[in-house]
């Protein structure tokens, strides 16, 4: 993958166009736009504000490599406040005002579901998102949307299986009262039944400002050995775990992707004590400090040191940023492939190219080569948090579901 090869291919394409094969129908635009909606305000503001600079990094690094066939890319980031309707308005505005929009990055389960039926014909773009909702990995219904990791259902399955392996027999599901929180419940119930684990409590909470004492009381009374938390980012889950620890509950807590951020875990540890010690969860990616044999991570780290000095991103890339970067690298790869094949950068071509990605050496994100299957990458592993070292360390091997 070098510049020369790409420029060689581009020359080839130009040459074939010159001899009359109508390979590139549209004139080459001056840039390609990667639009995005991020929750820079609202309940998930912390995440959105850290992802925005990561997109800038993605843009710079992609352009160092020649963009898409020599045409530079440009990323845009707009705030959605984690309100699906705002994100939809952002997308529609981008469609109407950016003629070269080739890719869009959405920011919530709600938005992705809201926009899915709009993605038809002229209005369709390849679309990644911060969400791992199962419904988004259905190529037959939503060919243009994909997950850069396993779905929440997969993550639940993984956690439930690891509970079964440890000989656990009861589990509680605590989830935020949002699409994000509810997404994997049904399949989780079924999986638990299949594994012979009893779901002793299903508790819905507010996404922010939940009534912690009451929820903890219910958890205490349910006597669950394990508790899976779903649908939280910065709030609620740390307080729940803190409350349960103060009560002296022996319950083991587990989380999915969005509840696995080191920054939040560290903040809890600093502010409230070592409550999160032993906390387990699924993470599709390697943490950014785990950078042996990871050329891509090394490149990111170099860029971060230079450009993000003095910010939390100087020496660490949050998992939220990694997810966005991974999703956008996949999108970029698909679009480059479309370009190399000399086809137009339509959503259909891009989706087709994306689906053909097999055995991708991600150079950091995943510990093993991964493949797009059914518009998702079902690979991940279980990590455990240690309050002493402030690190999430692997508690299982890589596995692909």
């Amino acid at each position: 993958m070098t510049l020369t090869r790409r420029s060689f291919l581009a020359t080839g394409a130009a040459a074939s166009a010159a001899i009359g094969t109508p390979m590139i129908l549209r004139a080459q635009p001056s840039e390609y736009v990667f639009g995005s909606s991020l929750p820079m305000t609202g309940p998930f503001a912390t995440a959105g504000q850290l992802v925005a600079p990561a997109l800038k990094m993605f843009e710079d690094l992609a352009n160092e490599d020649g963009g898409i066939g020599g045409v530079p890319i440009r990323t845009t980031a707009e705030d959605s406040g984690y309100i699906p309707q705002n994100a939809l308005a952002n997308y529609q505005r981008a469609l109407a005002t950016e003629p070269n929009l080739v890719y869009y990055y959405g920011d919530s389960t709600g938005f992705m579901k809201l926009v899915a039926p709009e993605l038809r014909g002229e209005n369709a773009r390849l679309m990644g998102s911060t969400s791992f909702a199962s419904e988004l990995a259905k190529p037959e219904e939503n060919p243009y949307q994909y997950l850069a990791g396993p779905s929440y259902e997969d993550q639940f399955d993984i956690l439930l299986e690891s509970i079964a392996n440890q000989g656990g027999s009861t589990v509680a599901f605590i989830y935020s009262n949002t699409e994000f929180g509810r997404d994997p419940l049904e399949s989780g119930r079924a999986k638990a039944e299949e594994l012979g684990i009893e779901v002793v409590l299903e508790e819905s909470t507010k996404a922010q400002g939940a009534d912690i004492p009451t929820h903890v009381t219910k958890l205490a009374q349910s006597n669950a050995e394990y508790c899976i938390l779903q649908g939280y980012v910065t709030g609620v889950w740390p307080q729940l775990i803190g409350g349960a620890r103060q009560f002296g509950l022996p319950t083991k807590f587990m989380g999915t992707f969005w509840g696995m951020e080191k920054l939040i875990a560290d903040r809890v540890t600093a502010e409230a004590g070592p409550f999160l010690d032993g906390y387990l969860g699924v993470m599709p990616y390697r943490y950014s400090y785990d950078n042996d044999n990871a050329p891509r991570y090394a490149r990111y780290a170099e860029y971060q040191k230079k450009n993000f000095a003095g910010t939390p991103l100087e020496n660490y890339m949050p998992t939220w940023g990694l997810q966005s970067l991974c999703a956008m690298e996949l999108g970029l790869m698909a679009l480059r492939q479309v370009h190399e094949e000399g086809k137009e950068l339509t959503a259909d071509n891009a989706a087709e190219a994306l689906a053909s990605i097999q055995n991708w050496e991600s150079g950091g994100f995943f510990g093993v080569p991964v493949s797009m299957q059914g518009n998702k990458i079902g690979t991940g592993r279980v990590y455990q948090y240690s309050a002493e070292t402030n690190l999430f360390t692997p508690a299982s091997d890589w596995f692909t579901v």
């Binding site: 305000t41 009262n177 009451t214 903890v216 609620v236 502010e271």
Partner: protein, 334 residues
Amino acid sequence: MGQFLQFAINGLMSGAIYALIAVGIVSVFKATKVVNFAHGYVIMVGAYFYYTFAVLIPGAEWAPAWLASWQPGWLMEMREGLPMFSPMGAVLDWVQNLPRILFGLAGAVLANAALGLLIERTLMRPLMGQSVFAMIMITVGLISILAGAAQLVWTADADFVPHIAPNAPVRFEMFGTTIFLFGADIVNMIVALLIFGAIVAMVRFTKSGVAIRATAEDQSTAYSMGISVPKVFSRAWMLAAATGAIAGAILATRNGISPSLGLFGFSVLAIVLMGGLDSYVGVFIAALAVGVLEAMTQWQLGGDWAEIVPYVAVLVVILIRPHGLFGQKEVERI
């Protein structure tokens, strides 16, 4: 039965906090006849002030070390060899945090009182004597202004604040079930009840309390009797904002700090109308009743049902008693 008791107590504890929030709405209404739809957001700003003075400032480099974490020798000695999560450990943690908690509370109360004064001067005073609709809608507009300003200043980050009391667990047996309570919650409840009681006593017995009541009765008569009505107005707003700051701090310790704290204002508004706008007793009863009802709903039906309890309750009460449980019937001239 034990379970019932557990949730009843939980309900009473959150009810007491509702009462503390409600007291702000009632005080402002009594003095100025304005129902503050934005009170929840005043509280949210109060919570962020607490966060500023208890977390951000002590965490700053120029702040003295004892403010962030007070570590006298005897405290360090006592800490030695204590197991994690022991009740004693919780108390010691609290002692360590005490300077910044007190600093935070004092800062939040003062800053929020100043905010109350500012709102009263700039928005409310020009509206004296305007229609109910204009007053309500001004406070509705205030909601957006406060929410936006808080996001601008504090970037809407969800964060953690120190508990205002040692958060040791309390556990006891009753009717064969173990009842769990959080130490901090019990203290919060006591604080809320004390403040509520103090304000009711103040309105009853002190001179400025009498002025508030006189203004509530009839503004122009009060004016002609030598009471400075504008002063009563600004005092009521400052009082509401100051109690709001404490309520905000408590809510933030319970639920984590976030802009969504403002939403509590709407359910408390429903509670206030249920109790009857100008009656402290009625509002107190309504607050506890809704707190308990919410906890029971949470227990039996789950968290999402609990969210609409105050709204259903207020609709039922208003339909049966249009002026709330203990509200005064308005007399209208035609």
